[in-house]
Amino acid sequence: MTDTTPVRVVVTEHAASDIERLKTDSERLGLRALALIQLLGDGKISGQPLKDVARYGDLRDCFKVYFGETGTAATHRLVYQETDDGGIEVKEVVAVEQRGDDYVYLLVANRLKRLPAETKRAFNRVHQQVIARRSGAAKPVGKRKR
């Protein structure tokens, strides 16, 4: 990478809590999340841009980086928002979460207050499922009865 623009990486409180929880699940994954942040700050890696899609809203100023345990599928995503602060490129880590159910992208849209109103209910449902799963009271995800 030859770009010489100064880069500053910061982590929001929400994302810090994500990594803290990740560490309680897997010390190794927590460490790898921090390692990713270091690589971003060093300019050694950069993320793939997100899109403006109906489900999440406009997240085109956000980027995703894949990671997981060594030698396994990339189960998690670190998402950062890119801003410019007086000529300094700022990468603000907004969420670090598992990819399943597109949860991480819904979470980012919700945290940035960009979640479309029509998606709010879907987000709440996935969010509750994730919380239930984490508390060990997961119910199988299937067709919902009307």
Partner: protein, 110 residues
């Protein structure tokens, strides 16, 4: 149409179909073509304007965009931001271990 008039709001589907004609009109008449409101259920959500008109309003638009983004950030303002060093310390990791993991992840990606 005077901008103070109640705007005629074109539904999205209609706007999509009319887009080539609207763009052509903007190209031919410039600012004199006026503006084109669109939105679902007749509720104005966006406005198409000739590029010359936008250029004239650009600096004001930029100020408004920046102010809106600042407000957006202020709404999240109760959130603390951490540097890598602060977060490493908070989570109780050894900075050396983070360095080693970073090198390993970089090697995995190459």
């Amino acid at each position: 149409m005077a901008l103070t008039d109640r705007p005629e709001v074109h539904p999205i589907r209609e706007a999509r179909a009319s887009l080539p004609a609207v763009a052509r009109s903007f190209g031919e008449r410039g600012i004199a073509a006026g503006v084109y409101y669109l939105g679902a259920h007749r509720k104005p959500e966006a406005v198409l304007v000739p590029v010359d008109l936008f250029d004239a309003l650009k600096s004001q638009a930029e100020d408004l965009i920046i102010a809106a983004r600042v407000s957006e950030r202020d709404a999240m303002g109760d959130e603390r931001r951490y540097t890598l060093e602060q977060l490493t310390d908070r989570l109780g990791f050894d900075p050396h271990d983070v360095e080693v993991a970073a090198k390993q992840m970089l090697a995995e990606r190459e």
